[in-house]
């Protein structure tokens, strides 16, 4: 029964079926399934399947956006029932597209996956000036600062932001991503982490947090 409900949640996230997703979320609560477990083992698992399918070319962005709608609808049902002692305080991520760059589809997918994985994301949007990253990290006490760039003209701002952060908020983990980035470039920029897609972003974020001793 529990397995069936969780699988139902996962499947309806993958197929982007909002109604079904909400139904399964309600059934999960009725069956006494822990809301946190329903989110993690149902919704989040669905989103990571979606992300895998995108990487394999089996799903495209329109389908992912529909999956996201379904996931958020289920989360709306489940979230009020989260027991705080079970979850702890969520890890905070400040996320934005760097200055001069308006490509935000990738950043939005990263946000989505992070929220599905239980992170709290502070989305700064696109074409974000360097200072705003630093300000937001300080104000929010963020655990992670994620920067996205799709253009070679914009990614050059990343090392500047990272340098500022290393001075003003040295405990914050810095992560970069987007088309023109790579592991080597991320390293040269002084970033703590790089990920080539949204699913990897979660893995890397969790790994860096556990190394820092925070998760």
């Amino acid at each position: 029964m529990k397995e069936e409900i969780l699988r139902g949640l996962t499947d309806s996230v993958v197929s982007g079926d909002v109604e079904k997703c909400v139904q399964y979320a309600k059934r999960a609560l009725e069956a006494g399934i822990d809301a946190y477990e329903a989110i993690m083992e149902g919704c989040a698992r669905g989103m990571s399947l979606v992300s895998e399918k995108y990487e394999k070319g089996e799903m495209y962005v329109p389908e992912i956006l529909c999956s996201a709608e379904a996931m958020y609808a289920a989360m709306d049902v489940l979230k009020p029932h989260l027991k705080t002692e079970r979850v702890g305080t969520p890890r905070k991520v400040v996320l934005g597209v760097v200055r001069g760059d308006i490509h935000d589809i990738g950043k939005n997918l990263v946000k989505l996956m992070m929220e599905a994985a239980g992170f709290q994301v502070i989305d700064l949007g696109r074409d974000v000036p360097n200072e705003r990253f630093v300000e937001a990290v300080l104000k929010e006490g963020a655990d992670i600062c994620g920067m996205s760039a799709l253009m070679t003209t914009s990614m050059i701002f990343m090392p500047e932001i990272i340098r500022e952060l290393k001075q003003k908020a040295p405990a914050t983990i810095t992560m970069v991503g987007g088309g023109p980035l790579s592991q080597e470039l991320a390293k040269a920029y002084g970033a703590d982490g790089y990920a080539k897609d949204a699913a990897a972003a979660i893995r890397v974020a969790k790994e860096l947090l556990s190394r820092r001793g925070g998760m």
């Binding site: 982007g16 956006l65 001069g100 589809i105 939005n108």
Partner: protein
């Protein structure tokens, strides 16, 4: 290195006429870079037709490449249909961007009016640049697609992509209006300059398989593209520069079908992204069309002169095999911050490795 026999521009014309030029022509897809070269803010290139034309002309003269001035940008459509765009005057910005989309709700779709090209958004600027080109004996270029990129800028890409599944009929309504607009634009330019003096320029990133499937391309792009291309060819336009931006490998059958269904009329110049091997393009279009390819754009900004020269050499060696002609170019816009020596690398590569006969 022997001297060039032809003047810049002449070799482009030769290739388009199906003849062999002295060496491979170079078309470096330069927009924002030209502003940098002459010391203007990039914004001026997109807002001031006189400065834009002059900057592009001087940049071409300084480097000695073959392509001539034009106007266009990827965020096109929003302004023309009543929204707002911003221009790249701030540090880091490199091209116009959408500030306000004309479609923000379902009701907006029905309210959306097809604008008159004569005073729609950026069209008057494009027209002014085209006039200056025409007056100098150069081709008048007008933007003619792609429809889905326009639609994405009109309603915002996230709304567009979600509605493609949730409310496809609304997406089709917007695409239909874009189609109407693009045909009106083509009529405006061809009636002003004569179709034989015009080049249609189409392409866009939202069609890319980074975002949509080939099935979605079939439903939301192909029918519109086919009708527009047919109309433009009927008007008598001979040259269409088609730029399937970024990875569009899976859409290739549709581009091929487009040519077949249009009876291979006119001469197409294909400028695919670096993701599409030249050999694939030659196999699809080599019998009729020119291939303009497709060196990795970021490499011009980040790699050394020697590396860029080598990339160009490799591209020439593969592209020159196209029986219907080849032009050396990047696979998308030249990064505005590319060091000038790397643009020169294209000219040098053409001179050293791109001689015919």
């Amino acid at each position: 290195m022997s001297a060039d026999r032809m003047k810049p521009g002449e070799r482009l014309v030769a290739v388009l006429m199906g003849q062999k030029p002295d060496r491979v022509p170079v078309s470096p897809f330069i927009l924002g870079y030209a502003a940098k070269i002459v010391g203007l803010p990039i914004g001026d290139l997109y807002t001031d037709p006189k400065k834009s034309f002059r900057a592009q002309l001087l940049c071409a003269e300084m480097h000695g490449y073959d392509s001539s001035p034009m106007y266009g940008y990827a965020a096109v459509g929003a302004w023309e249909f009543g929204g707002k765009v911003g221009f790249p005057y701030e540090p880091g910005q490199s091209a116009p961007y959408v500030i306000k989309e004309p479609v923000e709700s379902e009701e907006d779709v029905d309210r959306l009016e097809v604008p008159d090209p004569k005073n729609a958004g950026s069209v008057p600027i494009a027209m002014e640049i085209a006039r200056q080109c025409y007056a100098s004996g150069l081709p008048a270029v007008f933007q003619s697609g792609e429809v889905l990129t326009y639609a994405g800028n009109i309603m915002g890409p996230t709304r567009l992509l979600t509605w493609m599944i949730r409310k496809p009929e609304l997406v089709h309504k917007v695409c239909k209006k874009v189609e109407e607009f693009l045909i009106a634009c083509a009529e405006y330019f061809t009636s002003t300059f004569g179709a034989d003096r015009c080049i249609a320029f189409a392409g866009g990133p939202i069609e890319s398989n980074k975002l949509i499937s080939p099935k979605q391309f079939e439903e939301f792009v192909y029918p519109y593209m086919l009708r527009i291309h047919r109309k433009i060819l009927d008007m008598g336009v001979q040259i269409i520069l088609e730029h399937p931006c970024a990875d569009q490998n899976k859409n290739m059958p549709w581009y091929r079908k487009l040519r077949e269904e249009c009876g291979w009329r006119g001469k197409y110049v294909w400028n695919f992204g670096p993701e599409t091997p030249l050999e694939t393009q030659i196999a699809q279009f080599g019998e009729h069309d020119v291939i303009m390819g497709n060196v990795d754009p970021p490499s011009f900004q980040f790699r050394s002169f020697e590396e860029v020269l080598l990339l160009c050499k490799e591209n020439i060696e593969r592209g020159i095999k196209n029986p219907s002609g080849y032009i050396l170019g990047p696979g998308c816009e030249m990064p505005p911050l590319a060091p000038p020596i790397n643009v020169y690398a294209m000219i040098k590569a053409s001179r050293e490795y791109g001689r015919y006969g």
